[in-house]
Symmetry: C2
Subunit: 204 residues, 2 copies
């Protein structure tokens, strides 16, 4: 899809794409920036000592970029049945029971995808931290931008976990997912802010 | 340009697109999400009391989305001559003087574009704050995601101001631009974090 088309579809009131897809795309931008830094580092004499490690990270970031795009698509796939489930009738007792059962399954699916976006965001941030230390100094500002975009993917996806778990009837499961999201959110923000602050200091 | 193409161009070692374009695209995603929330709010009886205001914000966000894409293009336009200027010869005295003069102009141009991205990011955050209060509660998580992406555009662009001003010879001008960037960075982060925290609390 063209960038303008995606933005216009996002801006519309259509059910998808939404915040889930936008978070995943933010992560894809962050992992692409990491690759750019790695590409500007490999093959340079100055960084030859960790050439192998940077090449390895380059491959991992490429897989993360594809994973984020996959997750953006999955987010659309799990949202469509959820939007339909909301519209199921619930005037009779057996209708209510059926709707609740369908909703529960859809809400769980719609919570698991943003949790995966958070996981991919954290992996991206781990790699950006290494690139902050070992990547080309010429591109250090791009590591900082990448960290901010990966941070947005983690924090954005946390919103989508919350909006779905809050309607789940199985509160035990909901709280388990919330705890996972909270833990990843805290870790992602700390990691991103530390990388960003250090780079800001280096550029000051 | 298609999304995958842009990501692959970003991931490559080519001089453009880079962190500047990625920051601008983050802002475009944030303003598109704001429009989505506004579109889900207008025409609903529940929000009829501020229909006019939301319609006005919808138009502003549309203009901001286009502005971000324009700035992404401008960022490429100002980076190309800068990359060339870095390669100018500087072995003789008059070559050095000429190179310095060209560099200074290019660095200034390359600092002004990300400052504009920061400005557009702040405007987006101001509108998202209103949507947090007056937008459809059904889409409140999308306001939070939008705030994170707009935050990334502000903080990401601040990196690009810094990386360019640090090489400027005119330190007075450089410090003036840095002060502007610092002030906007602080304001953008505070605004985004406040909106995000309040929404997280509402979803808990």
């Amino acid at each position: 899809m063209r960038i303008e088309e995606f933005l216009d579809a996002l801006a519309s009131g259509a059910p998808v794409p939404g915040g889930g897809g936008a978070s995943a795309l933010g992560g894809a931008l962050g992992s692409a920036l990491g690759q750019m830094v790695a590409n500007l580092t490999v093959g340079k004499k100055k960084y030859a000592c960790w050439e192998g490690e940077i090449r390895e990270l380059l491959g991992q970031l490429g897989r993360l970029q594809r994973r984020f795009l996959e997750l953006a698509r999955e987010d659309e796939e799990v949202f469509a049945p959820l939007a339909e489930a909301y519209r199921l009738p619930a005037s009779k007792e057996e209708e209510r029971a059926f709707k609740e059962q369908v909703m529960e399954k859809c809400l769980l699916d719609a919570s698991l995808v943003p949790l995966e976006v958070m996981r991919a965001g954290l992996e991206t941030l781990d790699i950006l931290k290494v690139l902050e230390e070992k990547g080309s100094v010429m591109a250090v500002s791009d590591v900082g931008v990448g960290a901010q975009l990966a941070r947005a993917s983690v924090a954005g996806a946390a919103m989508n976990v919350r909006i779905n778990t809050r309607s789940m009837k199985d509160r035990g499961k909901a709280e388990e997912l919330n705890r996972k999201a909270d833990e990843m959110l805290k870790r992602g923000m700390e990691q991103a802010d530390a990388v960003y602050e250090r780079i800001l200091l280096r550029l000051s």
